[in-house]
């Protein structure tokens, strides 16, 4: 037994279930507090990256949904192809595609811009499906009533379909926002200084992965419960507004 690894010896002699105790003893809240400004910056970065990306995703999604709802193939086929391509490939591969590919096309952009672009283009495909489903959920009778009342296409869209579709899409859109916030963690892999990156820094600078990653997990949970609460609230509000038939 005396093989020189004396530092490890008494650990290996203990049954493994004693080890959590030793880890908890070593768990350094002081280091977490010391790194709190870094985590704060990371959290703020994650939030504004997500907000910008979600705005981008809405823009991409609205355009794609509009293209996808056209009768003509000219717009519908490319939109469908794009949505399928995004849905059938991982975000990380898409991120690397832009990160390593854009410089080749002559676009040398900061990492965070590449990240926002990737998140917008990725989430946009999902948002497009949500919007399309929302519009298609409006009963045909509504459209026909609009036609019978002599409304034009734009009037029908603006006054009949979109106000109703808007309500239906809010809860799934908030769900997509939750997915987007979590997806933004991948930007740490192209060294954007967001929340996960802060955790990685603590893990590698001080060799304290537990402190780093548990803390950022807690921060992400904060964002998650916030958005989830918002989704529940909006659902209740929409229910009161009589969105459900």
């Amino acid at each position: 037994m005396a093989d020189g690894h004396s530092g490890h010896l008494h650990y290996s002699l203990l049954p493994t279930h004693y080890c959590p105790l030793t880890m908890l003893e070593n768990f350094s809240f002081r280091t977490i507090v010391e790194y709190l400004p870094l985590f704060g910056q990371g959290l703020v970065t994650t939030v504004w990256l997500s907000v910008l990306s979600f705005a981008g995703a809405l823009a991409v999604g609205i355009v794609l949904a509009a293209m996808n709802l056209q009768r003509g193939r000219l717009f519908r086929v490319p939109a469908k192809a794009y949505i399928d391509a995004v849905r059938a490939t991982p975000l990380l591969a898409q991120l690397y595609f832009l990160y390593f590919g854009l410089p080749r096309l002559g676009f040398i952009l900061p990492e965070f811009v590449v990240g926002i672009l990737a998140l917008s283009l990725n989430s946009g495909a999902y948002v497009a499906e949500i919007i399309r489903a929302g519009i298609l959920s409006i009963p045909r009778g509504q459209v026909e009533a609009g036609v019978a009342s002599g409304m034009t296409y734009v009037q029908r869209m603006r006054l009949v379909i979109l106000p109703q579709a808007f309500k239906v899409t809010i809860p799934p859109l908030l769900g997509q926002a939750i997915v987007l916030v979590k997806d933004s963690a991948l930007l740490s892999l192209i060294s954007v200084a967001e929340l996960t990156r802060a955790g990685q820094l603590l893990a590698s600078d001080r060799f304290m992965p537990a402190e780093g990653f548990i803390t950022i997990a807690a921060f992400y949970l904060l964002l998650y419960y916030g958005l989830k609460g918002l989704a529940a609230l909006s659902g209740r509000w929409l229910g009161l507004a009589g969105a459900r038939a």
Partner: protein
């Protein structure tokens, strides 16, 4: 130029095959384990015991509320501190299985809750045991609701398996990352990587869509 790069990429096809193999193996193992575990969790959660269902609900929320990348880091870097030795592959399997189980648990719960209570009461009145009720009455009907999102979840699982490249597993995404260091054409390399995933995932997406239409036609409305 492009021709040379293509040749260079073609030269690394053994690596690419290994990467694709790793992606498929990772996904397949965690798909099977995750489905089994997810069904168990889902059934337990809808069972009467409040403590158990509360604990499962809390765990599912914890997993749904944090990024998968963070979960992988937690498992890969912290389990060893707890005295559990594990390599990157095992850590990847654990993380993916856990993720899949949590999402499938929610799908199964939604499916079980969609079965009218009259069905359960009828089974109860017929003197079926708990296990018989679940296996012969509730689950077969729940499957209609469960199946389409379950297949969709498998697509998500395959895509999420790309994230394990962050702890150094040589999966398809990691292969792309390695090749792009040598062949400076990110567009081409990651187009090919994407194509690899597309070939695996797209048929599953089509299947999910078809199931959704079929089940929807049979059932009136399908919850996603």
């Amino acid at each position: 130029m492009i021709w040379q790069q293509l040749q260079s990429i073609a030269g690394s096809y053994p690596l690419a095959l290994r990467g694709l193999g790793m992606t498929v193996v990772l996904s397949l193992i965690s798909l099977v384990l995750g489905t089994l575990l997810g069904f168990c969790l889902g059934i337990l959660r809808t069972g009467g015991n409040r403590l158990i269902s509360g604990a499962i609900g809390a765990w599912v929320d914890l997993i749904r509320g944090t990024p998968f990348l963070v979960q992988i880091f937690l498992i890969f870097f912290i389990l060893p501190e707890l005295g559990i030795e594990l390599d990157a592959f095992t850590a990847g399997i654990i993380a993916l299985t856990n993720l899949a189980a949590c999402f499938i648990c929610e799908i199964v719960v939604a499916g079980i809750r969609s079965v009218p209570t009259g069905q359960v009461e009828a089974a109860l009145a017929s003197g079926l045991s708990r296990w018989q009720r679940m296996r012969q009455v509730v689950l077969p009907q729940a499957m209609r609701i469960v199946l389409p999102p379950l297949v969709g979840q498998y697509v998500l699982l395959i895509k999420d398996s790309s994230v394990v490249s962050a702890i150094g597993l040589t999966d398809l995404t990691r292969v792309g990352w390695l090749v792009v260091q040598r062949v400076p054409n990110g567009l081409l390399v990651f187009f090919l990587v994407g194509l690899g995933y597309f070939i695996v995932c797209y048929p599953l997406i089509m299947l999910a869509r078809r199931l959704e239409q079929r089940m929807g036609a049979a059932h009136g409305e399908v919850q996603l």
